[in-house]
Amino acid sequence: MKALPKDPLNILVAGVGGQGNVMLAQIMGQALVMEGFFAVVGDTFGAAQRGGSVASHIRISKDTEYSSIVPKGQADFILGMEPSETLRVMGVYANPNTQVIVNPRVVLPPTVISGADTYPDIDEVLAAIERHSSRLWIVHATEQAMNLGNRLYANTILMGATLGTGILPIGRDSVVEIYKERFADPKLYRANIEALDLGISLTREA
C-alpha cells in the first residue's frame, strides 16, 4: 500500500450532471479498494439530473471509514470537470493547500443561454482558481478528447491527469485493470488506455 500524505485524504470531483463525474469517482474508489485502502465515495448535487451541479466526494484512509461528505474547507485535491463548478466547490471545500486540476471547457446552463443569468468571465474564473489553490493544472481534456475523436474520452484523460499528479495513492495498473473489466470491446479499451496515458503525460513531472 502506498503512503498517504494525510489521513483522511479528501478528493472532490466537480462537474455538471451528465459529464460522468460519478462514474469517474467510482473508478477511483474501486482502484483504491483494490490497493487496500478504505474508500468512501459520496455525492452532493443540486437537482439530481442532467445539467445540475454534481460533486463526488472521495475520502481515503489507511484504516477506517469516514463519513461520505468532506467537511468544510478540508479538500486536499479537487478534480474540476467544468470551471464554474470547480469554483463553486472551492467556495465550500477548498483551503490554501488545496491542489486543483481544471478542465477549462465551459458548460452553460439554459438560464445563461436564455439571457436570464450570466456566466462569469472564464479568464477571471481560472485566475481565481489559481490564486486560491496551492497548485493548479489546467488540462484541456475536452479539446484533447475531440482530437482523439470523441468528447467522452475527456473523463479518461482527466483520470490520467489525476494519476499523473501523483496525489492519488493508486497506480496506473489498477485503473487499467478496471478498464479491462469495464470496456469489453477491445477497440474501446485501447482508445481509453490511449486517453489515460495522454492524461498522465499532461501532468506528470518531467
Binding site: V40, A47, V125
Partner: protein, 648 residues
C-alpha cells in the same frame, strides 16, 4: 451494477450501500423481495433481480408499497424469508396493512427496508420513518455505513423470525447512495421450500393462523406486546459491533447517536481532538433501546448531546428512559433538538456536530484561514445557478408548452395539477410554470376530484390533473374511480413515457417485461380508463398542433372525467435503444434574423431546450450538437421556419 453473488467470504469490494443491503439479504437466504422504485432505495431490487434466477430468488416491482408488503408477507406465511423495500415516504402507503400484520405476526423472517432522505437530497419532503417502528411496535435497526447495512440486513431476518414480527432496517440516502468498502460474508446453501401449514386449534383460535377479524383479535394485541417484549432480549444479544461506547470512563460530554450521524460525530471529535474528553454511545438497535447499556452510560456523565437527523427520536426515547434511571448525585443535562443544539430538519454533517459540541464544552474551530474563506466564498457566488431542467428531447417539454398555449386560448383561467415524477418539473421554469399542486403519488387526481365538484360554488376553471404512467398504476386508479363515479369535472392526463423515468427507468405494469426479464401481460391504460366509461384520447406530444386541438376539445367537454394519454417514449430510453437521434438539426442563418425577428428569441429564451444555443456574436440561434437529442420539436416553434430538421 456489481454482481453481488460472488461466493468469496472475506473479500473486500467497493459496494453501493444499496448493493450491500442486497448482499445482506442474499447472505440471509432471502427468497422473495418486492417493492416499488424510488429514491433512495431504487437499486436494491434490480441488484437482486440481476442474480435472482441462479440463486432461486423471486424479485418483483409491485404496483405500490402496500401490495409489496402484502406480497412479502404472503411469502413469509409460507415459510420463505422475504423483504419489502420502501422508498422515502413509501411506508406510508403500506401502513394500513402493517398495523394489522403486526397483530398476526409473520412466520419466516420478514424485513422491511425503509430508505429515508434527510435533506431532502432528492425528495419532496423528509420523513423520519423511525417513528413508525415505535408506533407499530417492531424492532428497528439503523446502520451507520455500507458494511453495517449489509450485516444488519442479514441479522434482521434472524430477529424477525425469533420475535415473530417484521423487522425494520432504516437507511438514508447517504448510506444507500454512497460507495464504500464491504467485507463479504458466507452465502447460505439451504434449500427454500414454500408450504403453508397452520397450527390452528379450537382452544387457541388465533394462534397459528393470520386473521385479525373482529372478536378473534382479543388475544392478538396482548400477544403482540408479548412478542415485542422479547425483542429487548434479542437486542441485548445483538452483535457487539452494532452498539458500543467509545471514549473516557467519565466523559465531560456524552454523544448519543445512531446511523450516519455516528460517522459525523466520530469525525467531529477527531478534528477537535476531543476524543479523550467526549465519549460516543453509538446505537444500531434503536427501537427498543438497549436500556441497560444506555442507563449505564447515562450514569457516567452529566452532559448529553443527541446527534441524529430529522426527528428527536433517540432524544425523546432516552429521556423517557432517563426518567426511571436512579441518578444518584448526578443531574443529566440533555442537549439536542429540544435545546436548539441540533436542528430538526435537513441532513447532519461534521460541521454541524462541531458547532453543537463547542457550544457545550467551549472552544473555537476555524475550518480554514478566515480571509481565504471569505474571499473564495464570495468568488464562488459567481458560479451560475443550474436549475432543474427536462432533458433535451423530453416529450414533456412540448406537452407543457402545448398545455400553456391551449389554456391561454381557452381563456377561463384553467390550470394544471402535477404529481410525483419528472413532470413535477411542470411546476417550474422547465415546464413553463404550469403545475399548481404536487403532493403524494396520485394526489393530483384526488385533488382534482375536489376541484371538479365545485360548480355549485360558482367554480368554472378547467382542471388538467397529470400523473405519470407508473404513478397511474401506483395510486391513481382509486381517485379515477372516485372522480368518475361522483361525476367530477376534470381532464385526467396520463403522461405515458413507458418507464418509471425519474428513478431510473424501471418497468411498471403497463410494460411487457418484469424486473427479472420475464414476459408480462402489459396492462393497457386506455382499457382501464374505458372500462370506467371515461372518454379516452391519446396524443403524441411531439405533434403539438394535434395535441393542442385535442386539449381544446376536451376543455369544451363538461361530461365528468375525461382521460388524455400523452404517449411518447422517454428520450433516454429511446436513445439507448435506437442509438442515434431521429433528426439532424441546424439553424439556417439566412432565415434566422435574430433580434430583428420580433419573436423575442422564442426558441432559446422562452422554449429554452438545453439543446438550443444563442450565438451572441452572430445574434442568431444555433444548435448545441453535444446536447441536442434531435427530436425535431423546436423546428415547429420557430415562427420563421429557420430551425431545420433533416433525417439523420
Amino acid at each position: 451494477m456489481t454482481d453481488i453473488d460472488i461466493h468469496a467470504p472475506g473479500r473486500v469490494e467497493l459496494l453501493l450501500g444499496n448493493e450491500a443491503i442486497a448482499r445482506g439479504a442474499l447472505e440471509a437466504g432471502v427468497g422473495f423481495i418486492s417493492g416499488y422504485p424510488g429514491t433512495p432505495s431504487s437499486e436494491i431490487i434490480p441488484t437482486i433481480a440481476e442474480i435472482a434466477k441462479r440463486n432461486n430468488i423471486y424479485a418483483e416491482w409491485a404496483a405500490n408499497e402496500k401490495v409489496a408488503m402484502e406480497a412479502a408477507a404472503g411469502a413469509s406465511f409460507a415459510g420463505i424469508r422475504s423483504m419489502a423495500v420502501m422508498k422515502q415516504n413509501g411506508i406510508n402507503v403500506a401502513l394500513d396493512f402493517i398495523g394489522n400484520l403486526q397483530m398476526t405476526g409473520i412466520k419466516a423472517g420478514m424485513v422491511v427496508l425503509v430508505a429515508d432522505d434527510p435533506g431532502p437530497l432528492s425528495s419532496s419532503n423528509e420523513e423520519d420513518t423511525r417513528i413508525v417502528a415505535k408506533w407499530m411496535d417492531f424492532p428497528l435497526l439503523e446502520p451507520c455505513c455500507a458494511q453495517e447495512a449489509k450485516d444488519m440486513t442479514k441479522w434482521a431476518f434472524e430477529v424477525s423470525e425469533q420475535c415473530g414480527l417484521i423487522c425494520m432496517v432504516r437507511t438514508v440516502s447517504r448510506i444507500g447512495h454512497t460507495r464504500a468498502n464491504v467485507k463479504l460474508g458466507e452465502l447460505p446453501e439451504a434449500e427454500k421450500k414454500a408450504y403453508y401449514k397452520d397450527t390452528w386449534n379450537m382452544y387457541h383460535p388465533t394462534k397459528g393462523i393470520h386473521c385479525t377479524v373482529g372478536g378473534f383479535d382479543a388475544g392478538l394485541h396482548p400477544g403482540k406486546i408479548k412478542k415485542f417484549a422479547t425483542v429487548k432480549d434479542l437486542f441485548v444479544k445483538a452483535p457487539q459491533e452494532f452498539n458500543w461506547y467509545t471514549g473516557p470512563d467519565e466523559p465531560e460530554l456524552l454523544i448519543i447517536t445512531s446511523g450516519v450521524a455516528y460517522t459525523y460525530s466520530k469525525e467531529a471529535l477527531k478534528m477537535l481532538k476531543l476524543e479523550d474528553k467526549v465519549g460516543i454511545l453509538k446505537l444500531g438497535t434503536t427501537w427498543p433501546l438497549p436500556e441497560e447499556m444506555v442507563e449505564k452510560n447515562l450514569r457516567n456523565t452529566d452532559k448529553i448531546l443527541f446527534v441524529e437527523e430529522l426527528e428527536p427520536f433517540l432524544e425523546r426515547n432516552v429521556m423517557e428512559l432517563a426518567a426511571n434511571v436512579p441518578s444518584g448525585t448526578r443531574h443529566s443535562n440533555f442537549h439536542g433538538m429540544r435545546s436548539g443544539h441540533m436542528r430538526g430538519y435537513g441532513d447532519v454533517n461534521v460541521d454541524l456536530v462541531i458547532d453543537a459540541v463547542l457550544k457545550i464544552v467551549g472552544g473555537t474551530y476555524e475550518p480554514r484561514d478566515m480571509t481565504y474563506g471569505s474571499e473564495i466564498e464570495k468568488l464562488a457566488k459567481a458560479a451560475p445557478v443550474r436549475p432543474w431542467e427536462l432533458c433535451p428531447g423530453c416529450p414533456y417539454r412540448p406537452f407543457f408548452w402545448t398545455v400553456k398555449t391551449a389554456l391561454q386560448i381557452d381563456g377561463r383561467d384553467g390550470f394544471s395539477l402535477v404529481d410525483v415524477g419528472c413532470y413535477t418539473l411542470g411546476a417550474f421554469n422547465a415546464g413553463y410554470w404550469q403545475g399548481r399542486t404536487t403532493h403524494a403519488m396520485g394526489s393530483s387526481l384526488g385533488v382534482a376530484c375536489g376541484l371538479g365538484k365545485l360548480q355549485q360554488f360558482g367554480f368554472s376553471q378547467p382542471i388538467l390533473a397529470m400523473v405519470g404512467d407508473s404513478t397511474f398504476f401506483h395510486a391513481s386508479i382509486p381517485a379515477l374511480v372516485s372522480g368518475t363515479w361522483n361525476n367530477a369535472n376534470f381532464i385526467a392526463v396520463v403522461m405515458d413515457n413507458s418507464a418509471t423515468a425519474m428513478t431510473g427507468h424501471q418497468p411498471h405494469p403497463g410494460l411487457s417485461t418484469t424486473v427479472m426479464g420475464d414476459t408480462a401481460r402489459a396492462i393497457s391504460i386506455e382499457a382501464v380508463c374505458r372500462s370506467m366509461g371515461c372518454r379516452v384520447e391519446v396524443c403524441d406530444p411531439f405533434d403539438m398542433e394535434a395535441t393542442k386541438n385535442i386539449i381544446l376539445d376536451l376543455l369544451s367537454d363538461d361530461s365528468g372525467v375525461k382521460v388524455l394519454i400523452v404517449r411518447r417514449l422517454c428520450e433516454l430510453v429511446r436513445a439507448r435503444i435506437e442509438k442515434k437521434p431521429p433528426f439532424k438539426m441546424h439553424v439556417d442563418p439566412e432565415k434566422c434574423i435574430g433580434e430583428d425577428c420580433g419573436c423575442a428569441r422564442l426558441c432559446t429564451r422562452v422554449f429554452h431546450c438545453p439543446g438550443l444555443m444563442w450565438d451572441e456574436k452572430a445574434g442568431k440561434a444555433m444548435i448545441d450538437e453535444v446536447m441536442c437529442a434531435g427530436c425535431g420539436v423546436c423546428a415547429d416553434i420557430c415562427p420563421k421556419g429557420a430551425i431545420i430538421k433533416e433525417a439523420a
